[in-house]
Every structure is written in C-alpha cells, then in structure tokens.
Amino acid sequence: MNEYIKQLEYPTEPIILLSKKLKIKKFLKENNKKKIKKNIAVLGGSTTHDIVEILDLFLLYNGIEANFYECEYNRYYEDIMFNNEALKDFKPDIIWIHTSFRNLKNLPQINDSKEIVECKAENEYKKYLSMWEKCRRDYQCTIIQNNFEQSFYRLMGNKDVSDFHGALNFISELNLKFYEYAQKTNNFYINDLNYIASYYGLQEWHDLSSWYLYKYCCKIDAIPYLSHNVSRIIKSIYGKNKKGFVLDLDNTLWGGIIGDDGVENIQIGSETANAQAYLEFQSYLKNLSYLGVILNINSKNEESNAIKGLNHPECLLKPSDFIVIKANWNPKSQNMIEIANELSLSPDSLVFADDNPAEREIVKTQINDACVPEISQAENYIKEIDRNGYFEITTLSNDDLSKNKMYKANAERFKLEQSFSNYDDYLRSLNMKAIIKPFEAIYMQRIAQLTNKSNQFNLTTKRYSQSEIEQISSDSNSICLYGKLEDKFGDNGVVSVVIGRQDNDKLHIELFLMSCRVLKRGMEYAMLDELVYQAKKRNINTLIGYYFKSGKNSMVKNLYKDFGFTLKEINNEDSVWELNIKDYVNKQEIIEVESIK
C-alpha cells in the first residue's frame, strides 16, 4: 500500500493514482488519523469526475474528509445563478469554479475594434464577478476560481500574445482582472490552472481526444497535478501547511563533507556548477523563511564544524537564520523529535530534507507521518520540495512574516529553562546538602523499606528484611552506605542505599538504589564517589557492578556505563560491569557532602 500512498507526494505516477484510487481511498479512510470534515462544491465547465476523486485522495492525505457536490456537466453558471435547493442543502464550505480555456466562448475576432474587444473582456469578467458575488451572498463560503490556461494554437503566431485581437492577449487580460479581484477580496483564491498547464506542458495538456471523448479540459494523465494544485489551497486554508524545515548540512545545504574536506573545500557559491546548485537551494530556503517558514539544522557533525560551514562567506544561510541547530552524533530521528519539542510543534509538521536515503529511512520509520521528501541531487532539490506544496500561502499576515522571530524567542526561553533545569546552575541554586554514611541504627527501618519499595532506580532489585540489613551492616566484608539529601525546599530523608561485598581487591556492588524523587540531582554520583572513597580505604581496586533487568528498572540499564564502567558480561538483558578505581576522580561537586573521612 505504501507504494501507492507514496504517489500522493512528488513525483506522482498519474496512472497509478488513477487506477488505484479506490484502494488508496479505502486505506486513507480507514487509518486512524483525525480528519476534519468539509463540504466542497465543484462546479465545472468541463468534466470533473476523476478530478474530484483524485482531489479526495489528496485531501484525505492531508487530514480533510470532504463531502463533494458536483454540478451537471458545464452547468456551473446556472447552478450558482439560479435558485438551487440542492446546493443550499449541501451548505458548501468551499465552492470551486473549475472553468478553463474551453469555457471562453466569446474570444476576439480579427475585425473587432479595440473597444469591442475591451467590451468582450469586461462582459466575460462581469459574468464571473456576478457568480462570485452571488456565491458570497448565498453561501458565505470560500471561493476557489481557476484562471485561464493558454490555448494550444495561435492564430497570429507570436503576435497573438501582444495584439489585442489575439486569444492569448485576451486570456492574460482576463486573468489580470481576476487577480485584481483576488487582491482585494478575502476568502477568494485563484487556482493557477495557467501555471499547472504550462508546467505540465501545453502540448500535452491539451489532449484533444480527452476533450472530444470525455470533455476533460486536460489530458487524463494531467488530472492528478490539477487536483493536487487545488488540494494545496484547501489544506492551506484549513491550517494543514507544514511549519518549517529540518535540514541536513553536508551534501544538502552545501556540497562535500565539512568534517572531512574542511570548511575551505565545501561547495557553495558561484564558482562551480555544483556550488551554484547549493547556493540556489539556500536562496530558495532563505526566501521561504521570509514567508514565515522556520529553518532548523539536523546534522551529523561537530557543532563547531556546522557553525563554521554556515559562516562560510558564500553561504546565504547564516547560523542566525536557524531556530534550532542540532549538530551532533545522535540518531536524526531523535534530534528531529527534540527540535519539534523545542519549537512546541508536532514532528510531522516539519519537512525533513536530507540527501542520505538511510537517514530519511530512520526518520520515516521512527516518526509517525514524518514528512520526508525524496530528494536526489542538488540540482533537483528545489523542484522536489516545491512541487509538494508544503507551504502553500493563502493569506499572508504580519504574523506570518514575523513568525520566525516569535519561534526564535520561544526557543531562547526554552533553552534558558532547559539550561536551568538540566545544568549545574539550577542544581547549584538548590543548595543541596547530603549525608552519606555507613548504616546507622535509627535508619535501619527506612533502609529496609527502601530496598523493598524501590523499583525503577534499582540495579539489582535485591530485597532485604530489616534484620538482614542489620546483619549485613555489621559484617566487616561489607560496605553499606545510606544517603540523605536535603535542599532549599526541604529534607528528602534517606533516598539512596548502596551495599558492596568485598572480595579481596574487588568490591561487588550487590545493591545500588535511589528514590525517584531525587532523580537528576547528581545524588547517584555522590553515592559512587563515597563508595569509591570507602573502597580505596580498604585497598580495593576494582568495583563490579551488576544490572539485573526487572521489567521496571530499564531507566538504569546504562547507569554503570554512564558511571564509566566497562561492560564485562551480558546475559540476555542482564549485564556485569567493572571499574578500576585507582585513578578515579570524583564525579560530583555540586552537592555538599558530609561523610566519615
């Protein structure tokens, strides 16, 4: 099925869409994506059947479940202008007037005077104007109006475009009138049929047998492009545009690998063909960012190299053009999710552009509905992205234009918050004080309770009764430490317990647990520091740590790794770790620790 769904993104294979449309529709309707419901009336001056069926697919793909109303063949004018109970009952949210060159019945004749031609243009325009005004009055709905595509023949040849007698000249005059109306009217949008026909190729677009046999204004194969073009407007109206990019750097924004080739050798600028292709792609992105499309970096690179590259004098995109820059060695899917979180956006609202198919695959498989265009070569990037219409603009507000600034401010706030909750400043501000000492009689009960209650931050999940705790604490072969933590908000009491059993110069860590209420305070490091200190006093040189998987303790699966231990054994998901403590350096310096020296 994916192979068919893929057809809804560029590049589309029209015949697959047309011949599999029923299967695709079933699939899209049955998936659990939330969809908004809209009523769309398609009033055509030519056949609309397949156009509507394919439009339906593109809309479903964008989370819009449409009800359609289609007028009888070429009854668009009558349906709007004369009393129409069916359309009234339908309550359209959108009326799309699908007219084309084929509906221009009153083209200039060669013996017409300039005044007559102007009059013909004005009359044609007035016919449309009256339909639009009637639609607005009767239905208060959004209107989408096709402009006119160019004809496939030119009676006067080249003069057809410049002389007022020419059909091409007439069409462009009429289109201009449409645009003027669009500029001053809300909820009125032009479907640029003229562009789609030109892009497809007029020679192919005007397939006369499709017209004579079926009364389609275009070749059957062109229908998906036409439907897609309208779907772009509709999904944009209903807020289904993408919000921005997550971009790779090497071979995406410039040619070459900056880490290997060095900043002086990356390809960007106007010197070589390749460099120009990357420069134009950067220019495309920069211009999109002026429209409020936000840009972010997701690159496997040292951050310093990424910044160096973006500061290359030929780069149009500078570090300040990006909201979030992730240049590290983490999986790109993870970076992508973090970027989305920092922007308070859903990951599927960001377009991931990366030249590496393997990276695209990771993002596609790890992130639901990830938007990952199949980009190929630098010279094709713009086309491969632009054709998908991720950022279709229907209205351009000052808000959109300053969107980048807003996201940037939000990202700064998020960073500040993050730096405070994650970094030492925040921890320092807590004024934490710990007591880490051998078990004491008054805490035996609490220690035993902790060994029986702690599940998540508990490496071995070994349970002890109170008497076992008392017994083991008097055993000279054991190191038993409890940890108590208080901070400026209060005393947390005993929150951590470690039990080690000495075996000559080795210490087996039989229990290492911590209460979850003090997660991420650095307390575990304080416990380790003290354990090492006590072990050294006994001439122990190796710590042996055990992780036994319990079903609840996966959060500490890698604790010993984070502690700098070496993996010695792995058995299913249980593991044994070792640390030589001869040159151990204390890991924790923020908590003020009281202990027995």
């Binding site: 029923l22 299967k23 059947h49 397949d50 047998s209 046999l213 079926y214 059957i220 194969d221």
Partner: protein
C-alpha cells in the same frame, strides 16, 4: 502475446481499476455485464491499458469498441 494471455492481463487491470475481487472477462463481456464499468471508469481503464502496453488508442477506435474481445483485438493489432 496470445489473446488468452492478453485477456488475463486485462482481467487484472479491470479488477484493479474497478476494485472487484472477482471478475472473469470473456470475449463477449460488455460494460453492461460488469459492475462499476461505466463511462467514467472506462476512461481510467483506457488510460491504464494505454500506459500498461505502451500504446495509444485513437478516438475512432475507442468510440467503436463494443466488447472485451474487440478491445483485445485492437490492442493485439497495435502490439503486432
């Protein structure tokens, strides 16, 4: 390609386009015999067949088709 082989391929195309699980086309099958084979799906059928076999029907051929057998004959004559 023999006419029988062609009919099998056409059968697959028809099943796909018309979304029918069960369909057996014969020479004499006409649009009236097949659920969903109307003038609209006919357009998709013709376009799919053209793409699949790399051929192009002219208007006259399309207008004059009466049943599946005739369709197959036109395709075979174009492939020959």
């Amino acid at each position: 390609m023999t006419k029988d082989e062609l009919l099998k391929e056409l059968n697959e195309i028809f099943k796909n386009v018309l979304d029918l699980d069960d369909l057996t086309l014969q020479d004499s099958t006409t649009a009236d015999d097949v659920e969903g084979w109307d003038s609209l799906s006919h357009i998709t059928l013709i376009a799919t067949i053209e793409r699949k076999f790399g051929i192009k029907f002219n208007m006259k051929e399309i207008v004059e088709l009466h049943n599946v057998g005739e369709l197959a004959d036109v395709i075979l004559s174009k492939l020959a």
